[in-house]
């Protein structure tokens, strides 16, 4: 791919195709391989794969709980009980994920020990039974 030349679009574009060539092991394949100039800012495919998994998950949660939920007093006989709750958590998770995406790895590295301590405290907490 990198051997083609595109005189019309200027040298910037040539650079760009060299870089794409680098992706596939062309002449620019190097350790810190450069990305295409107009490439996506983040991994769109990853996002889609996760979205598909969550969507199939929601579908199957609904399908597998619809019968038991509609007959249970615990869910107040609402067939969509588990679907609604799970969707809510997906939304909450997505919003939190946005904030997390805004946190740099440098910050994570700094607060990692505290995150670990906080997580340990949380697993400690579930060991204490609630007073009834």
């Amino acid at each position: 791919m990198s051997s083609y030349s595109f005189p019309k679009i200027g040298s910037k574009a040539n650079e760009f195709f060299d870089q794409v060539g680098g992706w596939f092991g062309g002449k620019n394949a190097s350790v810190g391989r450069p990305l295409r100039a107009n490439a996506a800012e983040f991994d769109v495919t990853l996002l889609w794969v996760v979205a598909v998994l969550v969507a199939v998950g929601l579908l199957m949660v609904y399908s597998s709980s619809i019968a038991s939920a509609s007959e249970s007093r615990f869910t107040r006989s609402s067939p969509a009980y588990f679907l609604v709750r799970q969707s809510l958590f997906v939304v909450i998770g997505a919003v939190l994920a946005l904030f997390v995406f805004d946190t740099s790895m440098r910050t994570w590295e700094r607060i990692a020990p505290f995150v670990f301590i906080a997580a340990s405290v949380l697993i400690l907490l579930v060991l204490f039974p609630r007073q009834t």
């Binding site: 350790v31 810190g32 391989r33 450069p34 990305l35 490439a39 800012e41 983040f42 991994d43 495919t45 990853l46 996002l47 794969v49 996760v50 598909v52 998994l53 969550v54 199939v56 998950g57 579908l59 199957m60 949660v61 399908s63 597998s64 709980s65 619809i66 019968a67 038991s68 588990f82 709750r85 799970q86 809510l88 958590f89 997906v90 909450i92 998770g93 997505a94 939190l96 994920a97 946005l98 997390v100 995406f101 946190t103 740099s104 790895m105 440098r106 994570w108 590295e109 990692a112 020990p113 995150v115 670990f116 340990s120 697993i123 400690l124 579930v126 060991l127």
Partner: protein, 248 residues
């Protein structure tokens, strides 16, 4: 799971000592719940991260052996875990006893065939299969969406795991050791947990009570998974920025 970032000391005391202490403490906590499956996942992820951080395998291997021995011992002393192992080895022996959940799962998967019975057409979820919407959601998926649906799910998890490691490798090449280890840890976490859950659903591993990430019903698990993957996206985003010459 996020420690060991500095250049690793290869000595027994400094290299793996702290990890052993911390993991022992965490294991005790997790086992008190008791959550044998989570202990297994967290510990193996931690060890794999240490290994990928460059710790000598001569230090890692003995710990793996010790861990396996401890796991077997834990199974042995806890009657219900032992029962689960035997129930898994021959689920049809006690079809309506210990093997019940697994045989129901296997029957659901079998009924699904190649293309499945169609959404909503499965019968196993009608009180036959316990935990149909959590741990055994893949069995219902197999029943209603067939082998094709299962392949999509397995493929997605496989791709996710591979991608996490690829992102980790890229971060390493861009000299971001912490980000690299986090990405690889995330890959391990998702890989192991989905693998174990899928194996349990198909009867390749004893029932452990592990959910299928991103799919099983459960709020905190869903939120944790999404946040974790967001960190992965962030690492990849930073790598792309660095590769273009930006500061992060």
């Amino acid at each position: 799971v996020i420690h060991a970032d500095q250049p690793l000391r290869q000595s027994l005391l400094n290299g793996i000592g702290p990890f052993l202490l911390i993991s022992l403490a965490v294991s005790v906590l997790l086992l008190r719940e008791p959550d044998f499956g989570a202990t297994l996942v967290v510990l193996s992820t931690g060890l794999l991260i240490l290994f990928m951080a460059g710790l000598d395998h001569r230090l890692v291997l003995p710990v793996v052996v010790m861990g396996l021995a401890a796991a077997i011992a834990l199974v042995w002393i806890e009657p219900y875990r032992l029962e689960r192992v035997f129930g898994f080895m021959d689920p049809w022996k006690e079809e309506f006893g210990k093997g019940y959940q697994l045989t129901q799962s296997l029957m659901a998967i079998g009924r699904g065939g190649l293309f499945g019975l169609g959404l909503g057409a499965g019968v196993s979820k009608h009180y036959y299969l316990p935990e149909a919407h959590t741990d055994f959601i893949l069995a219902v998926t197999a029943e209603e969406l067939g082998l094709v649906g299962v392949f999509v799910v397995i493929g997605a998890f496989g791709w996710l795991t591979w991608r996490a490691f690829a992102i980790g490798r890229e971060a390493r090449q861009l000299e971001q050791p912490f980000a690299a280890l986090v990405a690889q840890g995330i890959g391990t976490l998702f890989g192991i947990q989905s693998l174990i859950n899928i194996a349990v659903n198909m009867g390749f591993a004893p029932t452990k009570g592990l959910t299928l990430p991103l799919m099983s019903y459960g709020g905190s698990g869903m939120i944790a998974s999404l946040i974790t993957l967001s960190v992965l996206l962030r690492i990849d985003w930073e790598s792309r920025r660095i590769a273009r010459g930006f500061k992060v």
